[in-house]
């Protein structure tokens, strides 16, 4: 039978994170955002709650949950704030997951306990100044010299890569040429603080201001040969897998932002009076909010379904791309409408909707632009 209700353990988790976001994040995050400061105390609390270990087994210090538990958490966090949500998303789905999925037993033992507990954060360095959507066009190189990889190149827009608690960046690099002339791409674990690995200062961003995004450069940066993640030449396949999953996570995060817009708008529509009546009594406002609710509802169904296929081990590439496409657009549309409903106050940074507006746009860009999602969907349709 079709049943869209959450099993009780997921519902309990959702409620716990909802409470946490309301009581611990909402009251303080505006200040961090304003100052473009990374919210270390919030991250520490999330670590203590196990939010950074959700999809990992207990033997690695995780919570023994799954990717859907992570998605629900991202949704509830993003309902209040996206910087905090993307910090968790990048740390788990992009930072720790590749190590858990592709790493050797030694790599897992070395890194996972500190990553799943939130003591350290992991980052994933794929994008470069000259390659984003066409990730395979990356130019960073790594050559094996004796028992060391020597890395040279630049990475752009890497989340979580320069915090005080960043432990490592998994770097995608060209490690040779295949017999057919194509690039051989591999992933290499580079611990923070390795000589030759420089983290630039934070970008000045339109949104996600309390999250950490940096440009990274590698100049004859040497790491042990054993830092190769999984097999040599598997880098491309690894990041495709990582990004397919990541799309479902970003969809969940987008749904959270879109829901936050509905929450705030309903509240404000009950409060704000113009021309002698609450603005919520005007059909123009009611219909706007009804459309917002319809968008967030359908987007949520899309990501739930993509996640359920992923958990059952079925192909989910198309569903993930659809979920990411529709939910990031729902977030953008809802942020625009919520800001409109708030009038001038919506343009003020001190109101959550002001933050939602600034945070929504990146959702149509990061982890595959909307155009890339459409490419993936068309490809799945045999076009």
């Amino acid at each position: 039978m079709l049943d869209f209700r959450l099993p009780s353990e997921y519902e309990d988790l959702r409620k716990t994170v909802e409470e946490f976001a309301r009581d611990e994040v909402a009251p303080v995050i505006g200040d961090y955002y304003e100052r473009c400061e990374f919210p270390y105390p919030i991250v520490a609390k999330m670590g203590a709650m196990g939010l950074l270990g959700l999809p990992f087994p207990e033997e690695h210090g995780g919570m023994g949950g799954d990717y859907f538990a992570l998605c629900l958490t991202l949704e509830e966090l993003a309902r209040v704030d996206s910087s905090v949500a993307i910090t968790v998303e990048a740390a788990t789905s992009l930072g720790a997951m590749p190590i858990y999925r592709f790493g050797t037993d030694e790599q897992k033992a070395e890194w996972l306990p500190s990553l799943t507990s939130g003591e350290k954060l992991g980052a994933f360095g794929l994008t470069e100044p000259g390659s984003g959507s066409d990730a395979g066009a990356l130019a960073t190189t790594a050559r094996l010299e004796g028992d060391e990889w020597v890395i040279n190149g630049t990475k752009a827009f890497i989340t979580n890569s320069g915090t005080d608690i960043t432990g490592l960046v998994t770097v995608a690099a060209v490690t040779g040429t295949l017999p057919d002339g194509r690039k051989e791409i591999s992933s290499i674990i580079v611990p923070s603080g390795t000589p030759g690995f420089t983290v630039s200062k934070k970008y000045s961003k339109v949104g996600w201001c309390a999250s950490d995004t940096r440009e990274l450069s590698f100049q004859d940066c040497r790491v042990p040969a054993a830092n190769l993640l999984g097999e040599r030449g598997r880098g491309f396949a690894q990041f495709l897998r990582t990004l397919d999953e990541g799309r479902v996570a970003i969809a969940a995060l987008s749904v959270g932002l879109a829901q936050g817009c509905v929450d705030e708008s309903v509240r404000y529509a009950h409060e704000r009076e113009t021309f002698g009546a609450k603005i919520g009594t005007y059909q123009a406002i009611q219909f706007k909010i009804a459309e917002m609710e319809a968008r967030v509802h359908t987007a949520r169904l899309a990501y739930y379904e993509a996640a359920s296929r992923m958990l059952r081990g079925e192909p989910f590439k198309k569903q993930a791309a659809i979920a990411k496409l529709v939910s990031s657009e729902a977030a953008m549309d809802n942020a625009r409408d919520a800001t409109q409903i708030f009038g001038g106050y919506g343009f003020m940074n001190e109101y959550p909707v002001g933050r939602f507006y600034r945070d929504a746009k990146i959702l149509e860009i990061g982890e595959g632009t909307s155009e890339v999602q459409k490419m993936l969907i068309s490809r799945e349709l045999g076009l």
């Binding site: 009780s8 309990d12 609390k45 023994g64 949950g65 538990a69």
Partner: protein, 260 residues
């Protein structure tokens, strides 16, 4: 050290709370029900003591069926097992009956060293259950604590009141109640939430505890609520302009209200 924590499910302070028209008891259906925050702190304190001294933590709740949600939350924070006293006959119980039932329920747990309660429930706000309970159990009561330590068979506590801080000591077993200053309760982890599903919860009735149904509930209460009216909306208040005599004007106002 075996600890019993008394937890109550109460209407969420974030939602609107009201009384039923029928019998003036709290309308528990109309509001979201949550584990009382003061009881989250009581559970937290029990877990910290358990981490330091070992033993088992049992939660006991008296309340309707859906109080299982509050119980599950306490279990997902880390408590080991639970007793849920659930019985139609309990509807409308007063403080005495509540304490009597809780005392009997505590009696079913073996080798209890410490009972921890909140100092005051956010709905009933009697602030009396822990003290009555201690009398019924014949145990020392160490109430209103902002700090608790256990050394051997001695419990030490700091009671903070308007008059100052009292340093209390009693020998175990004892009944303790804690204030909101005691600690910051942990959030349950997903691991804790999953584990809670497998923890034992025994549901018992008033009869199971050897109590006659007529001693509890509305009929067994020593007092009766005859009438209830919603609190009138707050009036606008009075503005005092300070033209040099602001202080005496405020004093006059307070005298008028018989406050000084």
């Amino acid at each position: 050290m075996n600890i019993v924590v008394l937890v109550k499910q109460v209407p969420d302070t974030w939602s609107e709370r009201k009384l039923t028209d029928a019998d003036h008891t709290l309308d528990r259906e109309s509001a979201d029900a949550v584990l009382d925050e003061i009881n989250e702190r009581a559970v937290e304190e029990a877990l910290q003591l358990q981490e330091a001294h070992g033993g088992e933590v049992t939660v006991i709740a008296m309340g309707p069926d859906r109080a299982t949600d509050a119980i599950r939350k306490a279990l997902s924070m880390g408590a080991d097992k639970a007793i849920h006293v659930s019985d139609e006959a309990l509807h409308g119980s007063d403080v005495l009956a509540t304490a009597k039932v809780l005392a009997k329920a505590i009696g079913t747990v073996e080798n209890v060293d410490l009972v921890i309660a909140g100092n005051e429930a956010t709905d009933g706000r009697a602030g009396a259950v822990p003290a009555i309970l201690a009398e019924l159990l014949g145990l020392p009561q160490v109430t209103q604590l902002r700090k608790v330590t256990v050394e051997g068979t001695t419990i030490k506590g700091e009671r903070e009141t308007d008059e100052g801080v009292a340093f209390l000591e009693a020998s175990l077993p004892a009944v303790v109640s804690v204030t909101e200053k005691i600690n910051e309760p942990r959030y349950p982890s997903f691991k804790g939430i999953m584990a809670a599903k497998k923890k034992p919860v025994s549901t018992v009735t008033v009869a199971d505890l050897g109590i006659d149904a007529s001693e509890v509930g509305l009929s067994g209460a020593y007092t009766q609520v005859l009438e209830a009216a919603p609190k009138p909306p707050r009036s606008a208040g009075q503005r005092v302009e300070d033209g040099g005599d602001g202080g005496s004007k405020i004093a006059e106002f307070l005298v008028g209200q018989k406050l000084i």
